[in-house]
């Protein structure tokens, strides 16, 4: 336990970062430019790394610093760079009209946030650092799923999946004192990297074959 920082300040910092993650998520829901969406995801990951850094500093836990470094390298720099390059190479700038328009999307996400707080409420009584972030974590997962359903560009679906993953990682920080064991964090990290690369390959092939990245055109297999 590190005495240089009081638990009170640490808890407030974590709550602040968590709320910022949620704000970024809502911006993502109403964002149409693909490159901006990728940047928003990078910003959200910075806040996730910030939360992990506060936890690591407060508990003096070495292995959580590794998680911070991995998040910064992987989710803030590498994955956004990878997606950015792909979007530029395919020369697609804008998402087509989502299935549900933006004001309605915002309302639905507001509802999902309420739902997240309702689900998390029974578990927020436990005394632990950053415990109040569980509601945000569940909301991130729910709105991530909504984003995935609502958009038709393959790249946006990949981004939505990544925000869901951010939500799960936030839940890990919110519910446990030190985060998950290092070997598990490493496994998750590399899986996410490989997943995005493979999704990238698939998106590329879909684009080549269908001359479009619109996944609603993938509708031949039925029954």
């Amino acid at each position: 336990m590190n005495p240089a920082i009081s638990p009170d300040i640490a808890a407030q910092l974590i709550a602040l970062f968590a709320v910022l993650m949620l704000v970024v998520q809502l911006l993502l829901v109403v964002q149409r430019m693909l490159l901006t969406s990728i940047r928003l995801f990078a910003i959200q990951s910075v806040f996730l790394a910030g939360i992990a850094a506060v936890v690591a500093y407060f508990h003096g836990a070495f292995h959580v610093y590794v998680v911070v470094a991995l998040t910064l390298v992987g989710k803030v720099v590498f994955l956004p760079w990878l997606l950015d390059r792909q979007v530029r190479r395919m020369n697609i700038i804008q998402e087509i009209e989502p299935l549900v328009n933006f004001p309605t999307s915002m309302l639905i996400c507001g509802g999902l946030t309420l739902l997240g707080y309702l689900v998390a409420r029974p578990f927020t009584s436990l005394e632990r650092l950053g415990n109040n972030t569980l509601a945000v974590a569940i909301t991130l997962v729910l709105t991530g799923f909504f984003l995935m359903i609502n958009r038709r560009k393959a790249i946006t679906q990949v981004l939505a999946l990544l925000t869901v993953e951010n939500g799960v990682m936030l839940a890990a920080v919110a519910l446990t004192t030190y985060g998950m064991p290092l070997v598990v964090e490493l496994g998750i990290f590399f899986d996410v990297l490989v997943a995005v690369m493979i999704l990238g390959i698939l998106v590329y092939r879909i684009r080549e074959t269908f001359a479009s990245m619109d996944v609603s055109k993938l509708s031949q297999l039925k029954g």
Partner: protein, 496 residues
């Protein structure tokens, strides 16, 4: 305990991984096929040894407990090895014909021979990993390595199948990860210290002290998550698409073992939940989803127009039956369910191999276009397909009859009459469905003007191996296998 001994579990992971790497640099397709056969022959032998060791001395651990195999894991290791071996045996000849027909490029064939061992390594890691987190990462690795296999042909439909598979799979696995996190949180509630380990072997010993509310929530997430990967209804929608669009050897792996490996991951959480909350909660959920899967499969089999999609729906039915057997939670039904996993792993690949032969000769999977009289063009394939279909529908003398009987009679004995009757109805409906569909295409006079381009002995080694095994183990179960099944049933049942 074999804490420092690295002679059994480590090679099980190292051999297929090395085979995958060797295929990266191998020159000829023939060499790659041979490497696969050798590697999985080796893992089958290792699996046999593991089986004996587990029966004789209990759980085997390596790397200081990072890898751990009990009877349930050993049983899964044998299944994975067998199906992978048959797949490698079949794949060599299959891709020779695909290359000759210009359906794939040599680069794609290499992709297959590299990714298949990687897929198998992932599955071995799922069943051998002790940490629930590592198990999750391994399940994700199997999903990722099989996605490109599903998309191998790069057709519009195969890309669609692969995209649905990877998106649904990823959503499912994200939920499973959330469930895994909840279990971790349930274990370290009010604990200032980090948890000593996230191993299931440890968690089982402290199960009664886990936070019950979190465990309850966690099991739902894990059920939906791993249930997606296991193809349980209503999360099964990727299953027919991926199975029908993948090359036939991959369909065999997906259906033969990959579904069961995901089910294994679910079972580990089921065991934990049972130890924490009592058996009723997770058993009822498994029972419900199992029955739903069985009944959902029936109409799709009856009206199906695509051969491999029909086989995929039949897998859905079998996975449902396995879940029902575990959900009924009596020693008899659990043993029946585990036995059913094994018999199904021997049967379903044969059907997919035969479907692959038919596809290569007729260039379609539409039942209507294949038409009657396949027996005239591909007599050997039809013989195996007929036998496997009779086995898969649960007729004696094949083992699936025995395992289904165990589940149904166990249900009656446990007083679950309604469940048993429902299972019986679903099984009979599937029986009628599959046999009517196949009698439309297999027997009868051949269509005039139908050209057949040889290959009537294709895949016989692979199909012969599996059918021989099925026939043998239908009438005689060796003592170690029987002992391992009994031990595994006790582990799943949770009453040591």
């Amino acid at each position: 305990m074999h804490g420092t001994d690295l002679s059994l579990l480590t090679p099980l992971l190292a051999v297929p991984a090395a085979a995958g790497l060797a295929c990266l640099v191998a020159r000829a397709r023939r060499t790659m096929a041979a490497i696969g056969v050798l590697a999985f022959g080796g893992t089958l032998l290792l699996g046999g040894r593991l089986l004996q060791q587990v029966v004789a001395g209990g759980a085997v651990t390596e790397w200081g407990g990072f890898l751990r195999a009990d009877a349930l894991s050993a049983w899964m290791v044998v299944l994975i090895s067998t199906v992978s071996l048959a797949t490698s045996l079949y794949a060599g000849r299959y891709f020779q014909r695909e290359l000759a027909a210009g359906a794939v490029t040599p680069g794609r064939v290499r992709e297959f021979f590299v990714l298949t061992p990687a897929f198998a390594t992932g599955m071995f890691l799922v069943v051998l990993a002790n940490s629930l987190g590592v198990m999750w990462a391994a399940v994700e690795a199997t999903a990722l390595s099989s996605v490109l296999l599903v998309a191998l042909y790069n057709r519009r439909t195969s890309l669609e199948g692969a995209w649905k598979y990877v998106m649904l799979g990823s959503v499912g696995l994200a939920l499973a990860l959330l469930g895994t996190v909840f279990v971790y949180a349930a274990a370290c509630k009010n604990n200032a210290q980090p948890l000593p380990s996230f191993n299931w072997s440890y968690l089982q010993t402290v199960a009664p002290q886990l936070d019950p509310r979190l465990v309850r929530l966690a099991f739902v997430f894990v059920l939906v998550g791993y249930g997606t990967k296991a193809g349980l209804a209503p999360m099964h929608t990727w299953l027919p698409d991926a199975h029908s669009e993948a090359p036939s050897p991959t369909s065999a792996m997906l259906s033969g073992v990959s579904l069961k490996v995901a089910l294994y991951a679910l079972l580990r959480f089921h065991i934990l939940t049972t130890a924490c909350l009592g058996s009723a909660y997770s058993c009822h959920l498994l029972l419900g989803l199992g029955l739903l899967s069985m009944f959902l499969a029936v109409p799709f089999i009856l009206v199906q127009r695509n051969l491999k999609r029909m086989l995929a729906y039949s897998s859905l039915e079998h996975v449902g039956l396995i879940c029902v057997g575990i959900g009924l939670n009596t020693p008899l039904t659990i043993a029946g369910a585990l036995l059913h996993m094994g018999y199904h792993a021997l049967t379903k690949p044969v059907l997919f191999f035969a479907a692959g032969n038919i596809q290569q000769s007729y260039h379609t999977l539409e039942l209507r276009l294949i038409g009657p009289g396949v027996v005239k063009t591909l007599p050997v394939t039809v013989l195996f397909m007929g036998l496997a279909a009779v086995a898969a529908t649960g007729l004696p003398p094949f083992g699936l009859f025995l395992s289904e009987l165990l589940v149904i009679s166990g249900g009656f004995a446990a007083g679950q009459t309604a469940v048993s009757v429902l299972v019986l109805v679903a099984l009979i409906a599937c029986f009628c469905g599959i046999l009517t569909q196949l009698t439309r295409i297999l027997p009868g006079p051949s269509r005039p003007g139908r050209q057949h381009d040889g290959g009537s002995w294709d895949g016989v080694p692979a199909m012969g191996l599996l059918m021989g095994g099925l026939l043998l183990f239908s009438v005689w179960l060796p003592r170690p296998l029987l002992a391992v099944l009994q031990d595994a049933a006790v582990i799943v049942g949770g009453n040591p």
